[in-house]
């Protein structure tokens, strides 16, 4: 909020300032910057908060759950159904991973919606964070595919029923389509989070700078904040759904 720009008397907070990395504990190992930043802080916070919440609410489990326990159970069931629907019985082994992934992204997205002024930050609005997650999934799914099907996993690139003279065109297209997975997965999450947060900040800036007329942008911010919370949830959901769809391709290798 401190940085302001523009002349002519009206000052507006820079809408991109919220994406700046701040190093809380500068640290360097062998020329690589491994500082503990605000991004790391929010990721640690997400892990600690979810672990604490899930462990505490599920400690004294009763058959008829209380409010908090039923939140945990609803989350569990929601992801469980999603994984079962998209991967079948073979995918149940990977449920803990997808559950953690979903909750991690969801909580990071929602923590970013907290109005903490100078300190608020959304790690998922940085492409490197989302790309690291997507790359992990991409490499993991590819390894699982080759591990389950051996070299036969390459058949994914040559769908059955395609005449042989089409294969020189189809195979590169299929390979490119496979390679787009981590890109579309990471860009979707990052772009949605960044655009939404920027929009809110711009509207907020107008609301502050326009004086009495600022009531317009302020009113507009109310539905957009709600929309942003919906997007925070949806993007975590889409990320988890796509992960289980990719996992399904690797486990069951059905023809498209």
């Amino acid at each position: 909020m401190a940085a302001s720009q523009g002349g002519s008397g009206i000052t507006m907070p820079n809408p991109m300032h919220q994406f700046e990395i701040q190093r809380y504990f500068p640290w360097e190992i062998g020329g690589i910057d491994v500082s503990f930043t605000n991004s790391s802080l929010f990721m640690v916070l997400a892990v600690v908060l979810t672990s604490a919440f899930l462990i505490l609410t599920m400690r004294g489990t009763s058959l008829v759950p209380g409010r908090l326990q039923s939140i945990s159970e609803m989350l569990y069931e929601f992801v469980r159904n999603m994984v079962r629907d998209s991967t079948g019985p073979k995918g149940e082994k990977y449920f803990p991973f997808i559950f953690s992934l979903f909750i991690f992204i969801l909580v990071i997205n929602l923590l970013g919606m907290l109005p903490l002024g100078h300190y608020s930050f959304t790690p998922t609005s940085h492409i490197i964070v989302t790309f690291a997650l997507a790359a992990l999934i991409f490499v993991g799914v590819t390894i699982i595919g080759f591990w389950k099907h051996g070299i036969g996993y390459l058949k994914l690139f040559a769908p059955s029923g395609v005449p042989w003279y089409m294969l020189p065109i189809i195979i590169p297209i299929e390979i490119i389509s496979y390679l787009t997975r981590p890109i579309s997965l990471s860009v979707r999450l990052f772009a949605n989070m960044m655009v939404g947060h920027t929009l809110l900040k711009v509207l907020g800036g107008f609301a502050g700078a326009l004086g009495v007329a600022g009531i317009g942008p302020l009113l507009l911010m109310v539905p957009f904040t709600g929309l942003e919370i919906l997007v925070a949830f949806l993007q975590a959901f889409v990320f988890a759904v796509l992960t289980s769809i990719y996992l399904n391709d690797a486990l069951n290798m059905h023809d498209h």
Binding site: L179, T180, I183, H256
Partner: protein, 138 residues
């Protein structure tokens, strides 16, 4: 407990544990049904809001799927051109292939959506002939 300690491989044990768990769940489900048959049915039907939320999620996938195909194709072509010094032939070829891959992505996503809808209609959870109850307000 004693039953699953006898099994040999860990996979076996997992499967048995899973089966026992499922049995217990079905047991509880049956008992709940007996207590109030209506409550169970109401819970199983997804609300119109839930299906709507899912469709927004699917719609969001289409845009990036298309763009990512074009971008990846273009990048691969660009790199290969630099490698072989054949600019701009491979860039053009891979740009076109990437565009095709993008359309393929979109086509598959759309297919998945249709399959899901057909499944929902078959289960009687979704009626495409009727408007969703909450669609008057938009």
């Amino acid at each position: 407990m004693a039953e699953y300690h006898r099994s040999t491989t860990p996979e076996d044990r997992e499967a048995r544990k899973d089966r026992l768990m499922r049995q217990r769940l079905e047991d509880v489900g049956a008992r709940l049904d007996k207590m109030s048959p209506e409550a169970g049915k109401a819970l199983q039907k997804p609300s119109p809001v839930a299906t709507k939320r899912q469709s927004i999620g699917q719609a969001l996938r289409l845009g990036t799927d298309l763009v990512a195909g074009v971008a990846i194709g273009g990048l691969i072509g660009y790199w290969l051109d630099q490698w072989f010094g054949t600019r701009p032939i491979l860039f053009i070829v891979f740009f076109l292939l990437g565009t095709a891959a993008g359309f393929l992505n979109v086509y598959r996503t759309a297919q998945d959506i249709q399959k899901e809808q057909a499944e929902l209609v078959r289960q009687g959870k979704l009626d495409l002939g009727q408007d969703l109850p909450d669609s008057e307000d938009d």
